[in-house]
Symmetry: C2
Subunit: 159 residues, 2 copies
DNA sequence: GCGGCGAATGTTATATTATAACATATCCAT
DNA sequence: ATGGATATGTTATAATATAACATTCGCCGC
């Protein structure tokens, strides 16, 4: 779904933006948080916490083996601050592609290539808002994950 | 969200309907599947697999202790046949309230009372369908879970 | 009835995902 | 430099889920 000519740039942009956001909000963008974010951005699809853990171990030997709580804390921080989203249907995490302009977003997740596209669509937000009202329901958080096949994958191979 | 005067009737109805559906489809509605479905229906909210496991153990001693795979297999069967839905954001399972007329549904989940209301809303389905088309995405499965506070809970106590 | 086949369940073990609880280190304002 | 808040280290374990193989059950044709 993504055709980044140089994915290094995607990662660099994400890190740079995170840096600025954290600075603006007086949050600490520590070494570990940066590395975890970088690893979340290894590709355009959701990444598992324990994969991050494994790669951190491999990556950096001056730090003694990183343990699960460390990774989950970093993911919590990044999630709370809108830099990363959790994909509940996959128990995995994906980098937020527009951490500044944020409303309720949803994800198109290709089960073939594994990429996830984050979208914000006023129609869907509107429809959700209306249905909440109709049911006298005070919505606080929306999980919307659409899995299927993206056009690239559908085009390139018979499914 | 639900005001069933006698929840026993809800359970009985769900079991009865499941029976009919399985019969019509030539599926085996075995003892275990029935019990698991019954326990999923203990209340109108999502139930955890291991809670079902515990209650099965307590319930029936002529069967040696039930093990996780047994419960998960029953849940898989019930889910595949539309009698139960998995709530990904909670790792829990809820009985389907209308297993026959089925399209893409979504859930309003009250984080206070824990109940989940299953809704089918053409506007939302339409909006999701449109956004899929716009992104040339072949949607296969939709997870839509809206958490918040239901009107009963908002009315009865200051949040 | 009975033999055989596929579906369902039993059983053991383990994989995967996530957090509790407490100790230590780091940051930074004063 | 020191104290309080924040972050990380560390140990242990909780919670969720499945792999793999053995056994039993249900049904169908004979």
């Amino acid at each position: 779904m993504y055709n980044c000519t140089s994915h290094k740039d995607c990662i660099a942009d994400a890190l740079h933006q995170a840096e600025e956001i954290c600075a603006a909000r007086h949050l600490r963008f520590t070494e570990i948080r940066r590395k975890v974010l970088e690893l979340v951005w290894q590709n355009h699809g959701p990444v598992k916490a324990y994969d991050i853990l494994d790669r951190l171990d491999g990556l950096d030997h001056r730090i003694a083996a990183i343990k699960p709580p460390t990774v989950y804390r970093a993911l919590d921080f990044l999630t709370e601050n809108g830099l990363v989203h959790k994909i509940n249907s996959l128990n995995a995490f994906v980098g937020c592609s527009h951490p500044l302009r944020h409303k309720e977003c949803y994800f198109l997740i290709c089960s073939d290539c594994g990429e996830a596209k984050e979208c914000c669509n006023p129609d869907i937000i509107e429809a959700i808002s209306k249905t909440s009202q109709r049911n006298e329901f005070q919505a606080e958080h929306v999980t919307l994950e659409i899995t299927g096949e993206c056009s690239d994958c559908r085009g390139s191979a018979a499914s």
